[in-house]
Symmetry: C2
Subunit: 118 residues, 2 copies
């Protein structure tokens, strides 16, 4: 696929993938894809990552149902990062927050600044 | 600094840093910081990265004047990515686009979908 020819995968064969909520532009999470999971993501319209810790394909929401449907895809100037605008079902974070970035620096400490999704 | 104790730097001593425009929530760029440049960023309020390709400290805008002033800082659930909401002067991208993510997948091709900043 032509799109993938422009992607500069790193030495480990991975590219950084940012997921951003389509409706609100909130950043949801950052993870990685390899050539195969990027191809699957582009063809299926569902976000599919590569887990560095488990060294496995990881389709977001495959077990939880918290899938991410791709709405728009962007590549950065040097081709080593992708930005996906997605429709997030339920919560992106495995800790049941909508975004994985739910802790903010408040006065020099990380404070939880979001509510859990029930 | 307590904040930094929660950061999980990777095997190369780096953490992923996403810069997002404070006023509009547009994602500007993604790069990396090491312990020293993260400390400098938090203490100075200006975004300072670590360049993987040049293996040097890289203060955003130091030569171009296109500095990024930190407004808010978030950490993700597993501590290996940081999200900075910033005030971006002029353009984040060295190609003079406001965001480095100026190419979008349109019908299976990467198309430039932003205007250059003059």
């Amino acid at each position: 696929m032509d799109l993938i020819d422009a992607v500069k995968f790193d030495g480990g064969g991975l590219v950084t993938a940012i997921a951003q909520n389509y409706a609100t532009d909130q950043v949801l999470m950052v993870a990685y894809m390899n050539r195969e999971t990027l191809t699957e993501t582009l063809e299926s319209g569902d976000m599919v990552y590569w887990s560095r810790s488990r060294q496995t394909r990881w389709k977001k929401g495959e077990t939880s149902g918290h899938v991410q449907k791709v709405r728009e895809v962007y590549i950065d100037c040097d081709g080593d990062a992708l930005l996906f605008k997605v429709d997030q079902t339920s919560a992106a974070c495995h800790e049941n927050y909508f975004s994985c970035f739910f802790k903010q620096n408040v006065g020099g400490e990380w404070k939880i600044v979001a509510e859990k999704i029930e």
